[in-house]
Structure formats: C-alpha cells, structure tokens
C-alpha cells in the first residue's frame, strides 16, 4: 500500500533560533528552516500505516532547494522510501491555493497512486490549515480531518478513523471511508502498536532508514513546473488569489511593569491579595 505524506519547511520559531529585525520582521536568512512541527503528527500516522499495513511511504514537499534537509529529517521520522521536492522559481510565493494545485499535480504524477495521503494540521508560519483540504479537493478524495486514531483495512479497501468533532477534544466520533482517502492528523494523534510483530517491524524499519537517511539525496526526486506540466500563470505568486494587504507587527510587551508584592501569611494580608486581584477579575 502506497502512502504520501505532505510536509513543509517553516522558520524555527523556537526561542534562541528565530531572529527578528528592529521592525519585528522575520529575518529569514538568519532563522533556520525546520519541518513544520504539526507535520510530525502526519508523519506518525503514516508511519503507523507503514508499520501495520506495510508498503512504501513517499514524502513530498514544495519549496526551495534548501528543503532537502527538511525531507531528510522527515525520512528519519517516517522511514520514508522516496522523497519528492517540487521546486523552482515559478512556484515561489504561492498562497495555499496555488500550493494545493502544485502539490496535487505532484501526487497525480506519481507512478503508484497512493491509497492514503497524509497532511499535518496547519503550518507554524501561515497557520491557515487550508493547504491540506484544498489539495484534497484538487485530488477529489474523501477527507477525514482532526484524526487522532487510524485503522486501515486493506482487504476491505477502507480506512476507519477516530476524529475530534470541530477539533474539540471533548467530542470524538468514529468515521469510515473508502480508499484512496486524505487524512489530516490532529496534534492529539496517537499511534498504537499493540502487537509485538508491529514493534519488531518498526525496529527493522528504523535500522534500515538510518542508512537511507544518510544518503537521502539518492532517494530524492526534484520536479519543476515543466516536469509537472503546469502553466506558470496558475502557480506561484501569479496563481495566488490571496492578496496580503498589510502586516501589523504584534506590539512587544513593555519592559517596565508595575508589580505589587504582598508578603503575608495571616488573614488580613491574604485579604489584601484578594482586593488587589478583584480589579482584574472584574475586567478593569
């Protein structure tokens, strides 16, 4: 069974990694690119499928040549068999729509049609959560979002999933659809390996993939818009209907703040704490 996982490189927003200029704009050159943290959940879902149901995993991304490292990182996590990078200048500055068009075309061009396509739940930079569902729309597949548990029945040609209704952890439903299908993994996704044979296979795959990830370029295919037979007018910046009107930086927290220290143990002193907090509780 062939599965495809979509991933994206994003700026590493962790403290100490990310760099902003004086105006609060991200300094792209000084900030390392990492795999979108939410994609890890898609990777774990794909890995579970590979371990439990076998088959190959293709990891695909669209982005600049520097994304190879992101794909390598992904290969280590998902034990991917093949890597695809959709990359050229014409694809640059795409919004979610143009990205979805490009990525969907990439998936359709694969020799082996995937039974499952996995995407993560929104990226750390754009935060839209559009690309996955739009790609699915282009592929015309049934889609299950906010997936927290997954079980594929290859013989019956179905996938059954537990999902959060409206993304709410309080409400969980179980749904089933036919393969091929598109799955968006929720950050709450938990892979389950209840059989010893699954865990043993997982160990085998991990060992195998260590070597493969070292030589990841040997497993990488780069496609440009010509390979995909895509009209530059419909991809990249030109193909993007989104217009960014402006960006307002989030004001920094003031360096100076007023603090009231109440160092007390007895009742009147504790009363004072309540009095102080009262104003905030009232919303003033």
């Amino acid at each position: 069974m062939h599965t495809v996982v979509l991933t994206k490189g994003v700026p590493d927003f962790r403290e100490g990694q990310v760099s902003f200029d004086e105006d609060g704009h991200l300094e792209r050159g000084k900030t390392p690119t990492v795999m979108n943290p939410n994609d890890k959940h898609a990777l774990r879902a794909a890995l579970q499928t590979k371990v439990r149901n076998g088959g190959d995993v293709t990891l695909m991304s669209m982005g600049p040549p520097g994304y190879k490292e992101v794909l390598q990182e992904g290969m280590r996590d998902v034990y991917a068999d093949e890597l695809y990078l959709l990359s050229d200048r014409e694809m640059g500055a795409a919004d979610t729509w143009a990205t979805a068009m490009t990525v969907a075309t990439g998936i359709q061009k694969l020799d082996d049609e995937p039974a499952l396509v996995f995407a993560g739940f929104k990226t750390a930079d754009g935060e839209t959560g559009h690309t996955g569902p739009q790609t699915c729309w282009c592929l015309d597949m049934p889609m299950i979002t906010h997936v927290i548990a997954l079980d594929v029945d290859e013989e019956a040609g179905t996938v059954r999933a537990k999902r959060l209704v409206e993304g709410d952890i309080e409400e969980i439903e179980t749904v089933e659809t036919e393969l091929p299908a598109f799955v968006v993994a929720d950050p709450e996704f938990e892979p389950t390996y209840r059989k010893a044979s699954h865990r043993l296979r997982w160990k085998d795959l991990r060992e195998e993939t260590q070597e493969r990830a070292e030589a990841h370029e040997d497993y990488l295919t780069v496609w440009d818009h010509e390979d995909l037979n895509l009209d530059p007018d419909y991809i990249g910046l030109d193909g993007s209907p989104t217009i960014v009107a402006g960006v307002d930086p989030i004001p920094k927290a003031p360096a100076e703040r007023e603090a009231t220290m109440i160092d007390g143990v007895d009742d009147p002193e504790i009363e004072q704490v309540f009095d102080e907090l009262d104003a905030y509780a009232a919303g003033d």
């Binding site: 010893a196 043993l200 160990k203």
Partner: protein, 553 residues
C-alpha cells in the same frame, strides 16, 4: 479463547538470565520474543558487580556471547582481599585463593553497558528466528487458559501465547508471584545492596591500586563499621570508575532501623578508604537492589505449566559470606531452561520443559551451589536465637579471642579461603560482625589516614538519577506506622529526617486523636522492592520505559 499473537518462546527480561535463555533458544532456531521493561537492557539493572565464569558451569556468558569480555566488561578481578575492621583497626587477608576456586575468570561489570551490548546480540540472534527483542514493554502477568499458564499479558501489548515462557524478570518478578512460586513475605530471605559508582581516571586507579590497565582488584569489608548491621561492603575497580557498595541482610536493616545510605557512607568515610579515594571524589550514580538469599529461597522446582523461572526471579543468587555470585547462575539457568525446552519439544512434549529444567539444575550442580546441604545443617542450627547468642558470646569471650590469636593470620586466611566453610556460614552477627571485629582487634593494625571525603546527601543522590515518572506503581495497603514504618528507614531513597524520599513518617491529628502513619510518594523510587517486603504494599513495576533509568547500574 480469542485469537492471540503467538511466539514459540517468550522470554521476559533481558538481563543475563533472559539473554542466555534467548540466545540458546535462538541457536536451536526457536522463534523467540524477548520483552524488556527498560528503555534499554541494563537500564533497570544493578549489580555489585563481579560476573564469574565458573569452571564447573555447563554454560558461561562468553560461551554464549563471543567477545563478551572484550566488549562488555570492565577490569578482571585479579587480586582479592577481605578487610576485618574494628574501629580504626584493620586486619587484611588475601582471599584470592577462595576467589579463584572454580573460577575461569571474573570481571567487574557495569550493567547498563554490559546488558545493552548483550541485548543487541540477543536482538540479532532472535530476529533471525522471527522473534526479536522489544524494550519498553512491561509484562504485567500470566495469560491463562482454563487455569493453565499459556502466555503473558502486558501493559503495552495485547496478550501473547507461547509454548514456553521464561521469566527472567529479576528479583521482583511479577510472574513468579503471579504463578504463586515466590512471595514477598520474609525479610530474612533477602539482602539489600546499595552502591555508589565513583568516577576515577584509569591512570589514577592504576596508581592507587598498584595495578596495570588489564588488572583489577576486589576488596571486601566486614566488622563493626556498620553499627552491627549484618552484612559487609565491597569495592571493585572498573575501567574508569570504582563500584563501592554495601550488602546487608534485610531483616537486620529492618530490625536496627538502619539507613542504607548511611551504611554506605560509613564505608566511604572509613580511614581505610583514603588510600583509594584521595581527598575528595565524584559520585556518578547511587543505586540499590534487593538480592534473594538462595540458601533460603532458591526455588527447588522453579516452574509451573509452561512457565520457568531463571536467575533472581527464581532466587538463584548465591550470597555466602564473601562469595557473591548471581549473574553466572542466571546465565547457566537460562541456558538450561532453553535446553530443556528444546529437548522437550524434540520428544513431542514441549509443555514438559519445566520438569526437565528442574532436573538439569540438579544434575549440573546448580542447586547444590545455591542451596548447599552443609548450610542446611550447620547454618540453620546456628541461626536459632539461643545458639546464635551463645556463639557470639564465646567469640567475644577471652576464649574466642585466644582462639583468634592462636590460629593467627595464616590459618584464618586459609579458613576464609575455604568455599566449603563459607557455604555453611550462618546468617548471624557472629561471622559478619563479631569475628571480623575480634580478628581486627587481635591481629589488625590501626589505619590512621584522615578521610576527608564527603559523600553526597541523599537528595543529591536521588537528584542525579534519571526518572521518567509514570503513574504511581506502589500502593500502601496499610499506612499505619506499625505496619509500614520500617520502610521509612529501610528504603534506600528515604530517610527519617528527609522529606524528599519515597516514605515519610507522619503524625496526623484527626478529631483530637493522633495517628502515626507513613506517606508514600513513588516519584524517586529506584524499584528495589524493599518496601514490598518490609511494608504492607501492593507493589508493581512502573510501565515500560517509565521509572528509574540507570546509566551505570
């Protein structure tokens, strides 16, 4: 019964016993699954530790795992001494002869390194059979079909059926208890050991112990430096560290309300240690373990249905005075259990392996070593209270002292070097405390070096350990001080005047009356099992990969 995943053999625990069983099964082409609850083999294991290869043993660990000594051990123990101590008086005997008796080789080991190396080999060998080694899996109990043991149940996996289940799950074996073969009742049946691994560069070790890179020393300590608690201390040289520890009878720790970490400190701060520790030292890891006393608990029939017990799980730990051998017996037992299954299978009666295993333990002389008949006669008699106090009085008397002087160092050294004599040593104060003390007083020399080392406080020792805290795995059934108070002192990570340990001593006021109780916080637990014996608890291991993780072990 529902359809379960099946393996021909399931081995629970990847210490030396489990590894030996798995390797031997795999050699016969038997599909073998090994389940280890640690994040890596060795991460849950503690030993003193010297591992022996006995000349008389049918299997040794380097037979089963070629290159074992090159890859997985520290230094060989090439010199052996016992120090009899009374205050600052020390009489040292060379007991290399005792040590070399029936010994092909004996090496110091650190368990994390040793077991993880062995574990890799086990995985390679068992994977070829269709099985393999899985870590982070805790076997919680036995799978039964109409009352008969047919497999194992786990926290992390669905139940698995097997034709043979080898329980090599250590001193606190949940499987041995589930099968009703072992219990956790009598403190007399156990020792408790605590150990500190001390950092030391190889060249400093060579200089201070006067040895070369390929040599090592084993020192044992007995006498009055442990406030009369029955037991002793040890020091073994590793490649770039020392293993220094103490081992005591658990009933003695409980009765004296002794604090194990303080007993260890008594050894570390004795003037005798100055020559080896210098002015100060760096402690790398503090660890603790229960040790079964095979003389009393080595199971004579360690099997039931498809289950066989090996190693500590079967009480197969020989601790007779200065003879402390556990891992080698576990290796032999594991391999014999595997051999028994292979034979049973070839005769078409695979479920009859247990009986054959028991037979092999006897035929190969393992049971004689674990439960010497001489101890059965002399030891048990000597342990009756009236005789114990009589022998202690005689030894302490002018007559006893005269005897020690008359025998002199040469004869005593020979007596200490007799494996037969050591095997019948009773578990009383006399051999552990009184005789060494008198020997030191009558024949010893004062050691006047000033010991300036400051062992770390208990909370530092606990703080240096690595934990992945899971759900609480121990439950206090009776929290009254009367039922469970001993745990406050006997637990190696608790102390009477320390609030950060597992067990605390509390007085609770309720409606005018005061209750004396103990409270339990399993957060710093090192899973030694002491409280399972001395307190009233429901004791389980933490789930796979959770709990304490030893780096040295």
């Amino acid at each position: 019964m529902t359809e379960h995943e099946q393996y021909e053999a399931v081995v629970v625990g990847c210490g030396p016993g489990g590894a030996a069983a798995a390797a031997t099964l795999a050699r016969s082409g038997i599909e073998t699954l090994v389940l280890e609850r640690g994040a890596e083999p060795g991460s849950k294991n503690v030993s003193g530790g010297l591992i022996y290869a006995e000349e008389s043993a049918p299997y040794t660990i380097d037979d089963l795992f070629p290159d074992f000594r090159e890859q997985a051990t520290e230094r060989p123990a090439t010199k052996n001494y016992i120090h009899n101590i009374s205050g600052e008086q020390v009489a040292t005997f060379d007991i290399s002869q005792l040590h070399h008796h029936d010994t092909e080789w004996a090496d110091a080991v650190l368990r994390r390194e040793m077991d993880s190396w062995v574990g890799e080999r086990v995985h390679e060998m068992t994977r070829e059979t269709g099985g393999g080694l899985l870590t982070d899996v805790r076997v919680t109990g036995l799978l039964r079909d109409q009352g008969e043991i047919v497999g194992v149940e786990m926290a992390e996996l669905d139940p698995i059926e097997a034709d043979i289940v080898v329980a090599a799950d250590g001193v606190n074996s949940e499987l041995a208890r589930d099968a009703g073969l072992m219990d956790w009742e009598e403190p007399e049946e156990w020792f408790q050991g605590v150990k500190a691994v001390v950092d030391m560069p190889p060249e400093v070790i060579n200089e201070r112990f006067d040895i070369d890179d390929d040599e090592g020393v084993a020192h044992l300590f007995s006498g009055d430096l442990f406030e009369g608690v029955r037991g002793g201390g040890f020091l073994y040289t590793n490649e770039a560290s020392l293993s220094i520890g103490t081992v005591f009878h658990l009933d003695s720790i409980a009765a004296e309300r002794a604090e194990p970490h303080e007993l260890l400190d008594s050894l570390l701060t004795h003037p005798l240690m100055t020559q080896w520790l210098g002015d100060e030292y760096e402690e790398r890891e503090y660890s603790a373990k229960l040790v079964p006393d095979s003389k009393k608990v080595a199971h004579e029939s360690p099997h039931r249905d498809r289950l066989v017990l090996v190693g500590d799980a079967a009480g197969q730990m020989q601790a007779q005075g200065p003879i402390i051998k556990g891992m080698n017996h576990a290796v032999t037992a594991g391999a014999l259990a595997a051999e028994a299954y292979t034979t049973a299978k070839s005769r078409g009666t695979p479920h009859d392996a247990g009986r054959r295993y028991e037979q092999k333990l006897n035929e190969e002389g393992v049971m004689d070593k674990l439960r010497p008949t001489s101890y059965d006669i002399v030891g048990k008699l000597g342990e009756t209270d009236s005789i114990a106090s009589l022998t202690d009085t005689i030894a302490e008397s002018a007559l006893g002292r005269f005897g020690v002087r008359t025998l002199g160092e040469g004869v005593l050294e020979r007596l200490f070097s007799s494996p037969r004599l050591m095997a019948m040593m009773p578990d009383t104060r006399t051999p552990y405390v009184t005789i060494p003390k008198i020997i030191a007083e009558e024949l010893g020399e004062p050691v006047t070096d000033e010991n300036t080392v400051e062992p770390p406080e208990l909370d530092d020792r606990i703080g240096d350990l690595t934990y992945d805290v899971g759900d609480p795995h121990i439950e206090l059934i009776d929290n009254s001080f009367k039922a469970s108070g001993t745990a406050v002192t006997a637990c190696p990570v608790s102390a009477k005047d320390f609030g950060g340990g597992c067990y605390r001593d509390e007085h609770v006021q309720t409606n005018g009356s005061e209750d004396h109780v103990v409270s339990l916080d399993t957060q710093p637990c090192v899973e030694c099992g002491t409280c399972a014996v001395v307190a009233d608890t429901h004791w389980e291991h933490p789930d796979g990969g959770k709990g304490v993780e030893y780096k040295d072990g």
